[in-house]
Structure formats: C-alpha cells, structure tokens
Symmetry: C2
Subunit: 343 residues, 2 copies
C-alpha cells in the first residue's frame, strides 16, 4: 500500500489512534528502560544537556523539566550549531548528554553526540530507529518502540519519546505512575469524538494565525501543538510560555488571533490563571485544553509530569481535522521530508 | 515631557539612534567589566545557566553561544518555572548563573537567582537597573548603562546587554575586538537611510505573518527581531533557527509569508546557504540582512560573535517604520507594560 492509494490523513489518523498501544508496548519493556535508567543514575551526572530538532526537541524540552524537577539537576537544551558550525568542544565530564530523534539520522545530532562523548559526557540516544547512526554512536541507546511512522507529521513517535524519557529519568519510581497511561490515553482520545472535534475546529477554519500557550511541563505540549498545526494546516501557530507571552507577544493578540491554552491540572495549569485573565480582558478567542470546560484529558490518577503524554492527543486530532477542513492532506505536508539533513 | 505630547514612535526612534553612544559608554567603563569578568573567570565554573524573559532572553541566548564557543563550557537557558512553580532546588556548585533583565524587577528572576545562589551557584545580574532587587540579590551585579529606556519595546537596553555579556564572558580578549563597535553601529544605522527603509518596509505593510530565520550567533537576532515586530507592528512574526525551519515550519511558508533571513558574514551566515536555497525554491519573499544584497551591516573588522550588536539595528528600524506605516504607535504597544510581573 503506498500513501497515494489511501484517503488523505489516513496515515496520521491511524498513527494517532495507535498511541495507547504504543504506550502499552513501552511499559511492557519496562525492564529495559529500568536497566538503562540504572546506568544513567549510577553515573551520578551533575548536569544534563539535551539535543534534538523539530518534534523531538519538544520531547527534549519535556525532559529538561523532568531533569530539573525530578533529578534536581541543572539542565539545558544544546544548540547543536555551537558544536557543529563553531566546532566548540566543551569539557563534558559529569554531563549526561541526551539526544532525541525519531530517525536517528540527523547528521548534526550524530556529530553533536560524538563530540560530547569524546569530551567525557555519558551519551544517550532516545530514538525510534535502534539501528541508526545515532544509536550506534551513543553509549546507551533506547528504542522508543513506536513502530514505523509513515505520516511526515510525527505523532506516536512523540508520545513514545515522552514516556521513554520519563522512564529513563524518573527511574524506579516511574513504573507505577505510568501504568495507567495507556488506558488514560485511550480514554482521552475517546473524550473528543469526531462531532466535538468538528465543532472545535470550525471557528479555526479560516484562521491564518494562532497562539498556543502553557507553563511548566505543558509548555512542551504548546510547542508541539504549534508545530503540528504549522506542518499540517499551514497555520502560523506561535507557541509561548505563559510567562513570556506577557513580555511582548501579547501586543499582537486581538479577537482575530485565536489562542489555545493548555491548562491541565497541576502547578503549570494553576500558573496560567493570570495569563487566562489577561487573554479574557483582551477578548481573545481561547480554546482551553483541560478542566473545567476545555478539551478533556483523562487525567485522574496521572501525575502532572506525565500529563504531556495526554495533553497532546486532542491537539494532534485538532491539527488533523483542521488540515482536512482546509483542504490539505496532513499526511503529506508540502516541502517536508521525514529525515532532515541539517549540519 | 510626557509620552502623550510627542510624535508617535519618537521615543523608540531616539533610543534606537542613541545606541552608538550607549556602546561607547559601556566601553569607557571597560575596567569595571574586566574586574567582573576576572571574578567570573576565577570561579572556574563548569556549567553556565542563563535566566531571562522577553528581549533579555534573546540576550541570554546570545550569551549561551558565547559560553559554549568562547568559554567551551556547557550552557543552558533556565526555565524559571522549574525553580519557581515546581520549587526545584538543583545542586549548583560549579555553576555560573547569569540573569539578564532590563528592569531587574521580574519576581521570577529574583527568585530563581536567589534559589541558585542558595544552592551554590556564582550569581550574576546583568541589568539596566543597578539599584534593583535582582542586582541586590546577585553576588556580581553589572550595570549595562543604557540609561532610562522609555519606549516599551526594548532597543538600546538590548544591545547594551549584548555588549555587556560579551565583555563579561570574553574577558581580556574582548576589549580590542569591541573597540570599533560604536562607530560600526553608527555606520550601520546610516547605511539604511529613511528612503531605503521605506522601500524595504513597503511590501510588508499588509503582511499578517512573517518568519525570521538565522543560525548560530545570529539566531538571537532572529528571535529579537521577531519580538520587535510583534510588539510594535502586531505582526505574527515567528523566529526559527535555519535548521529547525527545515523540520516542519517550512510547510507553512509560501509566497504569502515573507521571510527575513539574517546572513551576516561568518559561519552562521554560511550555514544559512541551504536554507536560503529551499526558500528560493518555494518562491518565498526573502529580505536578507547582510551581504551581498541585504540590509547592510558595517561588519568590517568586527568578529562574528559581535555582529548581533549590529544586525539588530536595521531590524529595530524596520519594526519602527512598519508600525508607523500600519498606523500603530511603536512607543505604546497595546496590552504591555515595561515591567512584567510573572511568578
């Protein structure tokens, strides 16, 4: 079956729907993740660096919060260009260097990881291609087990990366908390059925620009949702942390710029209260993800740090629906290919 | 004189024009910067963390590249929320923790810096308000000497932050390289006179969205230019590193989305060649900053790591011009105030 012969968006829809099963598969392999987590913990790294591009960069952003909050370690997202373009070779003893990549084939990530390893970092590749150059270059390679992803817009590989990173970083305490995720993901997908999705998508049909905002762990969700909307619906979707939104970009928001605010339960969602207040003052069209009236998330019993796995699900569905409504095939975004060769 | 009684954009125009003098003032105080740089160097930190919001966050991004390339240290931008919302208290021995803030009054930055200091970091405040709570909380406080900034959209405080960060991080080697900057800034401003500026702004008059892209040091310029355009002209301006642009957002670009590409001389500009090629294939309207035909920068004799101080100048002027063309007062963006109180 080639992608020519099937309906527009069929690949993306199938891969979105597959996510509960992918999450269950990862948990079934939790021994492997625990073993990797133990090697990582044993290294007693003092600093965490994360390198990734595109969707994987949003999984990296999530991992940064996990490292800071759960491991209590300073963490940063690497600018690969400082290692590749400028040839920087920082001393990386005591550094845990995590790369995240669906394909494991971006040359700049392979080069960055190799540079980090040569300078003493413990290197980890979190990838959907365990036979890739990136996995080969890393000391610890972790297969996120999402299976072949055929739609250009990454969906199941993203949530698989999130859960894999959680298992690697949260370590032993992780297994119990994550056990309910597959079922919660299935319920979350069911909580926004097609008719509700169509009603939510309708006012956005002719939108040209849109803002997505969140704080804390959910900031990764905002970034990833914006990318999905750009890739599939060609909307100019801009993501801002709720705090940064108030520093400047707010000026650009009026009734013509709809806003998606991710406010699922937890400290990140709580911290969005003043941002929502300002948006309402401006009369902005705000679509919430989370309680009380937003797109629902089956969040009961799931700790805040795992909610990004659920929050993105209705937003992936929204990107897919909106692309179809706008006459675009979300499986085949113009101008993109699945592996991007940047140096 | 109140801002009511003067012409729209007069404050921003005056502050943009003041920048060569501000840069000269900083260099005249280079002894103070050298002394601070020596204290920083003596600490032999192993990791650099930078915390900032808004325009200052773009100066922080620039500092991240400086730390990685010039100091050869791993560096990251802090998510203040992990320290404030989630109460993380990472161990920060051997960490150089730099905050950048025009006002020195954002509570989340003061709290983040205090948390870092209590956990062993060497803390530095780079601020335009040396009597601020942020400066008081830091072990090393550096006055960027931009003078009172009255326009809400930061201009002179940004370039003052860039040069201050350069002097702090590049240390002794810095003075010579930076000596020519004030004159180069004056020449750069003169190289885009009003008539040229009007011609460049004209095709953007009714644009709703716009992309700004660059790589390496110039990526900070792209981010800051996008923010200026959002704040003053209410354009949906999205910034992407050239590498990330090829991972997804490219799908959204067509002839209706103009692109500003910062390609001043150096490795970052060179690495933009494949990005420009793809943009040209897509038929995008591309406005370059840098040679051969873009908005000119007086870059002769200035090392690449200092070019961000110059690159932003014609883009600040463009944001100002465009705001006026679109009937907006760039001195008084709607919905914004000079100090943002996020927690």
């Amino acid at each position: 079956v080639t992608s020519q012969s099937i309906a527009p968006g069929a690949l993306m829809a199938a891969e979105v729907a597959e996510q509960p099963a992918v999450l269950a598969q990862i948990l079934a392999a939790s021994d492997e993740f625990t073993a990797a987590a133990e090697r990582i913990a044993a290294a007693k790294s003092r600093f965490v660096l994360i390198a990734a591009r595109g969707t994987s960069d949003h999984a990296g952003l999530y991992a940064k919060y996990l490292a800071e909050v759960l491991l209590q370690l300073p963490a940063g997202l690497v600018s690969p260009s400082s290692l590749t373009i400028y040839g920087a070779r920082p001393e990386m003893h005591d550094v845990l260097f995590i790369t995240v990549s669906q394909s494991g084939r971006s040359p700049d990530l392979v080069d960055s990881l190799s540079a980090a390893r040569s300078r003493g970092a413990l290197t980890v590749a979190v990838t959907n291609a365990i036979d890739s150059p990136l996995a080969a270059a890393a000391e610890i390679a972790v297969d996120v087990r999402a299976g072949t992803e055929r739609a250009v817009a990454a969906t199941k590989s993203y949530t698989a990366q999130l859960l894999s990173l959680y298992l690697l970083i949260a370590g032993v305490r992780a297994a119990g908390a994550a056990a309910r995720l597959p079922e919660a993901a299935a319920r979350t997908l069911a909580l926004t059925p097609d008719d509700r999705l169509a009603a939510v998508a309708a006012p956005l049909q002719y939108a040209e620009r849109l803002v997505v905002t969140a704080r804390g762990y959910a900031y990764a969700t905002a970034r990833e949702a914006a990318l999905k909307l750009m890739e599939t619906s060609y909307l100019s979707a801009m993501a801002f942390s709720g705090a940064d939104l108030l520093h400047g970009p707010l000026a650009m928001i009026d009734r013509s710029v709809p806003v998606i605010a991710v406010t699922s339960p937890g400290r990140g969602g709580d911290a969005m209260a003043p941002v929502l207040e300002r948006l309402h003052e401006l009369g902005a069209h705000v679509l919430q993800v989370g309680p009380p009236d937003g797109l629902p998330i089956a969040s009961e019993g799931i700790p805040e740090e795992l909610l990004p796995v659920l929050e993105i699900l209705p937003l992936q569905r929204l990107a897919w629906r909106l692309a179809l409504d706008r006459g675009v095939d979300p499986d085949r975004p113009r101008g993109l290919s699945k592996v991007t060769q940047t140096l």
